[in-house]
């Protein structure tokens, strides 16, 4: 894809841009959905496209398209230059500088192409089967899904950046229905990796079944303030929100609860957070970021203190800092903006039983809902729906549903008392690896 990207940069300069950058990608993907022992759908698709940023002085514009013919690329580049003319001047706007060396990462699993459709269909059916066989209270499987994709990305800029990489990813998940005395319960099981060999269908099915059956007979807890343990899937969602607040873009525009807190105490000592764009297991890893700057590992919260924000080229210039290689990109259809790559929470020393013991009396939260509507990203205040289990005398007790947990992101971080010993990669809230977290106190609202 380097050739169309080169062409796009040339055409943008010819259309009047003073600088230009092109991001070209192509990907091939498959998805299988199973239900009731049958394959419900099988999708095989290819996509390719290009996104062009054009600068005219300090004005910047963006355009993307799917037509990669010579005329098509010229049209996209011309539209990018046109878009730049509409934008207001911004003294910090400009392309990334070339430099630094990009890591040589193996991000692609060739086994994807060795697994034909019937083999991944069998894997998907095995996920469903495992869920149904796991517990007699499992009534049905809403759906079992497997998907994989292999993408090739190239970035070229007029400042001399030129790079290309290939990356694959795949995941499987299941949504399980369990029959309770007073209605149905659902449970999600999932696994992810770079290729189908990394996916364990039995583990996915069992997890979904366990989560669904564990909720049978759930009731509302009493409203109170108490210790709360977040399981890794829930902790990951919150860590994702915190990553958003640590973006220099949000901070510079005064829209982050972490603004003006650099170097300050923002978390309990037990919470250590890194952004790691090079972790071989992280699904967001890549040799360079969305504008061609080498990825790296950055300490965000250590010793309870906020060490740095996440920067891309624009926010680094504006904040008189260096880019941390955190220009994120949702594909050729979106222009780069600061975002976390893989957020990694350091594991602690306590096993799950010990975490429960530390909590004593409280709530173990296994699922949250309404994160997109229940969190104020500017102030960090949140109130979200939750379900899970009661913790009594340091042990798991009855299932709980239909309650909310409320706090604000900084208070929650400050209240982290312990991190569990077992971390897990979770695709919610971006790409996050985290253990369970014990929060000293949160407001639980039920009956």
């Amino acid at each position: 894809m380097i050739e169309p990207a080169r062409q796009a940069v040339e055409r943008a300069l010819a259309a009047g841009a003073t600088d230009a950058e092109a991001y070209a990608s192509e990907d091939a993907g498959r998805e299988i959905r199973a239900h009731g022992g049958e394959i419900e759908s099988l999708t095989a698709a290819t996509q390719r496209g290009i996104g062009v940023r054009a600068w005219i002085g300090h004005q910047v514009g963006y355009a993307f398209g799917t037509d990669l013919s010579e005329a098509g690329i010229a049209a996209i580049s011309a539209r990018a230059a046109e878009a730049a003319r509409v934008a207001d001047e911004d003294e910090f706007a400009g392309p990334a500088d070339a430099g630094g060396s990009a890591a040589d990462l193996q991000l692609s699993d060739p086994s994807i192409s060795e697994w034909p459709a019937d083999r991944i269909a069998a894997l998907t059916l095995a996920i469903e089967r495992a869920a149904l066989d796991a517990d007699r209270r499992v009534a049905a499987v809403e759906q079992a899904v497997y998907a994989d994709s292999t993408e090739r990305v190239a970035i070229v800029s007029s400042t001399g950046i030129e790079g290309e990489f290939e990356r694959s990813s795949c995941y499987g998940y299941v949504q399980v229905l369990a029959e309770g005395d007073d209605g149905r319960e659902t449970g999600l099981g999932f696994d992810l990796g770079r290729g189908p060999e990394a996916i364990d269908p039995v583990a996915i099915g069992r997890e979904g079944a366990e989560r669904a059956t564990a909720m049978i007979g759930a009731r509302k807890p009493e409203s109170r303030s108490c210790p709360v343990i977040l399981d890794p899937t829930v902790a990951a969602s919150f860590i994702g929100l915190i990553g958003g607040g640590l973006s220099a873009g949000a901070v510079q525009r005064g829209r982050s609860p972490f603004a003006d807190r650099l170097g300050a105490e923002v978390a309990g000592e037990a919470l250590v957070l890194h952004d790691d764009g090079l972790d071989p297991e992280g699904s967001a890893s890549s040799p360079f970021d969305g504008e061609g700057v080498p990825r790296r590992r950055t300490a965000l919260i250590e010793g309870g203190r906020l060490r740095t924000y996440l920067f891309d080229t624009y926010t680094a210039r504006r904040g008189d800092a260096a880019t941390t290689g955190n220009a994120g990109r949702g594909g050729y259809r979106s222009q780069p903006s600061v975002s976390s790559s893989n957020l990694v929470v350091a594991v602690g020393t306590l096993g799950f039983e010990e975490l429960l013991g530390e909590a004593g009396e409280g709530v173990f939260v296994t699922d949250v809902a309404g994160l997109h509507s229940g969190v104020n990203p500017v102030s960090g205040d949140f109130s979200v729906g939750a379900s899970g289990r009661a913790v009594r005398g340091g042990e798991l007790a009855e299932p709980l549903r239909e309650f909310t947990i409320a706090s604000d992101l900084v208070s929650m971080l400050m209240a982290v008392r312990a991190a569990g010993a077992d971390a897990r990669w979770v695709p919610f809230g971006g790409s996050v690896s985290t253990p369970s977290l014990l929060i000293e106190a949160m407001t639980v609202a039920g009956s």
Binding site: S41, V60, T66, Q175, L177, H372, F403
Partner: protein, 461 residues
């Protein structure tokens, strides 16, 4: 209207899709173009122009859907997708029926956004910015966005249907941040329609003022109450409550998988007789409207709840085929890269008879959820959660102080049955609904409604 692909090309594609058998084949072709921009820190930025064209081909055989999509509309591209979709099938050739064009009437667009100079769109954002920032000294920040998209689509299938639609949607949004000391609050408002630039004929700056008003009010907010109490829900975007807690459970795919609390409840009383609700994909120029759905079926007005009784489910072609009924015109997809699934269009609770003030006056202590930030439901269990963006305490029949950070949580069967008043006011609002990884524009609407008891999740225990 002329389509995105020629009937001759569609016929060839359908024949190839059925080359290895199958009961049904379909090609969905699309050409789209859009422009978005934003204003932040009083600077017009993020100007972005996008265009895409491509097609998706699906074949149904037994219970399985085979699907493939490609970028590009060259006949060779689309035929490649057809071959890919057919690749996993192993039977003998099936013959598609000859295509018969079905006329459709796209919604009327008075002023095509693409024909309006980009400078005028930037000027519109500057106007919003001025209005929002002028709303009060405590407005610390203000952002607005503009988006236009035109989607031309043609769908053809092996049953002989070929139909086209030409859809233009335009939308603006405003978000204000108000600050007083350590207190930071946000307010947001949107305006959108299946319309052109004429959407902005009537004081578009109003949404900026409204976003700022919401943020400023919250500066005086105290903590939200926690516990079970009567809740009055505001009109307009309050309709998202019905969309989430009931609408999704009526989508036929959830029903057929047993993953809805409404399974087996058709004809039963699921709400008080004062409640009647519709899904209507035909409302002229409404945000969730189209002339045809994404399978070529005409959109329609479906009464889903009639005086409290569950009256209908929402079908796409595949789920309708399974139940041997007709599609209700609810087969929608985000783009040619997605399979159609049953989706709502514009969903609303029909106006009732009571004045909103009278509804509130009858509440001793309760909560007034005037507007939501959004919500989420698990259709299988019926558990839902909503984030309240503007909420107030109700004390002795009067709306008193504003509350920050409230969430409504409950189960839809109980909550729907607990609606004991429907107001005589009515308003439609725009939303973007996510399901199965696809986002589609939906309208939500209602007047004020009151729920007898619901859990409010705040911080004040």
């Amino acid at each position: 209207m002329s389509g995105v692909i020629e009937p001759g090309v569609a016929e060839r594609v359908l024949a190839r899709a059925l080359a290895n058998g199958g009961e049904f084949a379909e090609v969905f072709a699309e050409r789209n173009a859009g422009l978005t921009m934003a204003i932040d820190e009083s600077r017009v930025e993020a100007v972005q122009s996008g265009a895409a064209e491509g097609a998706g081909v699906r074949v149904l055989s037994g219970g399985t859907t085979y699907f493939s999509h490609v970028d590009g509309l060259e006949p060779a591209d689309i035929e490649r997708a057809a071959d890919e979709a057919a690749a996993a099938l192993r039977s003998g050739r099936a013959e598609p029926r000859p295509l018969q064009a079905v006329a459709s009437t796209p919604h009327q667009i008075e002023q095509r956004p693409a024909a309006v100079p980009a400078e005028r769109k930037a000027a519109l954002l500057r106007e919003l910015d001025e209005r929002g920032r002028g709303a009060g000294a405590e407005i610390a920040q203000f952002m607005s966005s503009y988006a236009e998209v035109r989607r031309e689509v043609t769908v053809a299938n092996s049953e002989g249907l070929i139909s086209s639609d030409d859809r233009t949607r335009t939308r603006i949004g405003a978000q204000a941040v108000a600050r007083r000391g350590d207190s930071v609050e946000t307010g947001a408002e949107t305006l959108g329609g299946h319309r052109g630039f004429e959407l902005f004929d009537n004081d578009p700056g109003e949404i900026a003022a409204e976003a700022a008003r919401k943020a400023l009010i919250l500066l005086d907010a105290g903590p939200a109450p926690a516990g079970s109490m009567p809740v009055v829900v505001g009109g307009g975007f309050g309709g998202v409550l019905f969309h989430e807690m009931t609408g999704h459970g009526l989508e036929a795919d959830h029903i057929q998988k047993g993953a809805s609390v409404y399974v087996g409840k058709l004809g039963e009383q699921v709400a008080q007789p004062l409640l009647t609700a519709y899904d209507d994909g035909r409302m002229p120029n409404e945000w969730g409207s189209d002339a045809i759905d994404d399978e070529g079926a005409p959109t329609q007005k479906t009464m889903v709840i009639e005086e409290g009784r569950l009256a209908a489910f929402l079908y796409d072609g595949l789920s309708a085929r399974r139940d041997s009924v007709a599609s209700t015109g609810n087969g929608r997809r985000e783009s040619f890269r997605h399979l159609p699934v049953p989706r709502m269009t514009n969903t609303y609770i029909a106006p009732g008879e009571i004045e909103p003030e009278a509804m509130i006056a009858a509440v001793g202590r309760g909560f007034y959820a005037k507007s939501f930030a959004g919500g989420q439901v698990d259709p299988a269990t019926g558990d839902f959660v909503f984030g309240v963006s503007e909420g107030y305490l109700i004390e002795s029949g009067k709306v008193t102080r504003p509350c920050r950070g409230a969430t409504l949580i409950g189960n839809c069967l109980q909550a729907l049955m607990a609606i004991d008043a429907v107001g005589n006011d009515f308003e439609m609002k725009t939303g973007v609904c996510g399901k199965a990884g696809q986002r589609v524009p939906v309208g939500t609407g209602q007047g004020h409604v009151r729920i007898g008891a619901m859990t409010v999740g705040g911080t004040e225990v």
